[in-house]
Assembly symmetry: C2
Homo-oligomer: 299 residues x 2
C-alpha cells in the first residue's frame, strides 16, 4: 500500500495498551478509545488520535481492533447505539480480540454483515510480555479473504497468527487453551503441595518435573510466581474463572463432558471465595496451602 | 576404581531391558534376573551372567538395581525367602527403580539396614526412548553418601540424576510427576474433543496451543499417538492408573485434597472399563470421543 490503512483500537488495558502501541510502531495511523480516558494519554503522546466514543472511532478507520473484557462489554461496544457496527464504514474490517464466547462473535458478525462490514474474532495468547514484544499467538476466526486483508495489522501484534476456521473459531481455540492451562495450573498446585507436605525442596522438584512427563508452560512459570511468593497479576484468577466458565458453557452446549474443566472451575471459585480474584492465577494454590498448612516456596 | 563394581539388574521389561544394557555398555560386570527367563537372552549374548533367583543375583554383586511393576512384586523380590535383602552382601547398595509407594521403599530400606545393606529408591521418567538413550530423569531418595556411591551406576542410565531427600523421596517426586502428567493428559483430551466437536483442524489446534499457555509435554506427544490414531504402548493406561492411585493414596495419608487427581483416576478407570487398559495413555481420550461421536485425528 502506498498509503497505509487507518486503524482504530478500543480497550487500552494491560494487553490492549501494548498491542495498540505495536500497531502505531508498524506505521499505521492509529485512533484509540478507552472508557477511562486517562489511559489514552501515553498513546496520544506517541501520535495516536483519541476518539470520544466507539462509534466515532469506527467512523474514521479501515480496521477496528478491540481488546475488552467479557461478552457483555464487547456486545455493548459493538452493538450499542453509538457502537462500532452502527458507525463502521462499509468495507471496514472489525477485529475483536477479547476472550469471549463464540456465540457473541457470531451475533456481532451477522449485524456487521448486514451493513457490509467484515468481522474477525482474534483472541490472543502470550500475556503482557507477548503483547509488549509483539509475539502474541493470535487465533483467528473468519473468512480467508478477510483474514488476508487484516493480516498486516495482526502481524504488527503477533508472531503466531493462525486462521482456525469461520467466525467463532478463534474464540473456540482460545477457550480450549485457557481451560487446558487452568487444568494444568491447578494440577501443578495439587502436586507441589503433596511435595511440600513430604518435605521435598520445591525448586528442586520443579526442576526435575520440568525434565519429566509433567513438564508444562504452567509448571515452567512456577518459580516466577509461587516459589517467589509473588502473586501480582498478570493474568488474574477472576479472568481465568471467566474463561473456564465460558469453556464449560461451550462444552455443555456441545454435549461434551468436561470433568476436569468443571473441577478446575470449582478450584478457581474456591480461590475467589478466599478473596484471591485479583491475584495471579498461580494463587489457585493458596487455598490448598492453607488447608494443609504448608507453603510451596523456594529459590 | 581399578576394578569395576559388579552390578545386578532385576526386571528386564520395556524399561529395565535397555537400562540394564546401558549398565553393561558402561563397563560394569552385569548379572541379570527376570521372572520370564526368555527375556534374559539378549543380555546374556551381550555378556551378562544370568542368575536363577533374585537371591542368587544379590549374593554376587555390589549393586542391585531393579525395575519391576507394582508394590506387591517389589516386596516379594526384596523381602521374600529367596529375595534380595536376605541374600545381599553386607555393604551392598540396593537401588529400586520401579514406580511404587514410598512406604514400601521405607519398609525394604529398614529390613536392608538391619543386615548392613544400603538402599535407594530411584524411580525414573523419560519412557522407553529415554531408557534406550540413557537420558532418563532419575529421582532418588536415600542417604547422600549412598547416593554418591551409586552415582556411577545411575549415571550409566540417566542424565538428570537428582537426590530428592531420604528414602521414599524419589517415589514421592515420581508419583507427583505421574499424577500431574495424567491430569494434563486428560485435560488435553477434554480440550481437543471440544475442538473436534466445533470442527477445528486438530493438527492446527495442537500447533497453536503449543505456542500458548496450554503447552505441555503431554500436548507435544499428541501427534505421535492421538492424531495418528496410534495407541500402541509405550506407557499404558493400566500403569498410569496404578501410579495415579498410588499418588491419591499418598495424598490421602498426608491429608492433601487432590480434586483433579481424583477425577483423573476416574477418567483412567473409565478407559479401563472400556477395555483400553493395555493401550497407550493417550487412549484416555477414546471414551470421550465415543460419547460425543467425534475423532481427534490429523497430520
Amino acid at each position: 500500500m502506498s498509503e497505509r490503512a487507518a486503524v482504530g483500537f478500543i480497550g487500552l488495558g494491560l494487553m490492549g495498551g501494548p498491542m495498540a502501541k505495536n500497531i502505531l510502531k508498524s506505521g499505521f495511523p492509529l485512533t484509540v478509545y478507552n472508557r477511562t480516558r486517562a489511559r489514552t494519554a501515553a498513546l496520544a503522546e506517541a501520535g495516536a488520535e483519541v476518539a470520544e466514543t466507539p462509534g466515532a472511532l469506527a467512523a474514521e478507520v479501515d480496521f477496528v481492533c478491540s481488546c475488552i473484557t467479557g461478552p457483555a462489554d464487547v456486545a455493548e461496544v459493538y452493538l450499542g447505539d453509538d457502537g462500532v457496527v452502527a458507525n463502521a464504514r462499509p468495507g471496514a474490517v472489525l477485529v475483536e480480540m477479547s476472550t469471549i464466547d463464540p456465540g457473541t462473535h457470531r451475533q456481532i458478525a451477522e449485524a456487521a454483515a448486514a451493513r457490509g462490514v467484515d468481522y474477525l474474532d482474534a483472541p490472543v495468547s502470550g500475556g503482557v510480555t507477548g503483547a509488549e514484544a509483539g509475539t502474541l499467538a493470535i487465533m483467528t476466526g473468519g473468512a480467508p479473504a478477510v483474514f488476508e486483508q487484516a493480516r498486516p495489522v495482526l502481524d504488527a501484534m503477533g508472531e503466531n497468527v493462525v486462521l482456525m476456521g469461520p467466525v467463532g473459531s478463534g474464540a473456540v481455540a482460545k477457550l480450549i487453551n485457557n481451560m487446558m492451562a487452568a487444568i494444568t495450573n491447578a494440577g501443578v498446585a495439587e502436586g507441589m503441595v503433596i511435595g511440600a507436605k513430604c518435605g521435598l525442596d520445591a525448586a528442586q522438584l520443579q526442576q526435575v518435573l520440568m525434565a519429566s512427563a509433567a513438564s508444562s508452560f504452567m509448571l515452567r512459570m512456577l518459580p516466577d510466581f509461587t516459589l517467589r511468593r509473588n502473586f501480582d497479576p498478570g493474568f488474574t484468577i477472576d479472568n481465568q474463572t471467566k474463561d473456564v466458565n465460558l469453556a464449560n458453557d461451550l462444552a455443555r452446549e456441545l454435549g461434551v463432558p468436561t470433568m476436569l474443566g468443571a473441577v478446575a472451575a470449582q478450584l478457581l471459585r474456591s480461590a475467589q471465595a478466599e478473596g484471591l480474584g485479583d491475584r495471579h492465577i498461580a494463587a489457585v494454590i493458596q487455598p490448598l496451602e492453607r488447608l494443609t498448612g504448608v507453603e510451596v516456596r523456594g529459590e
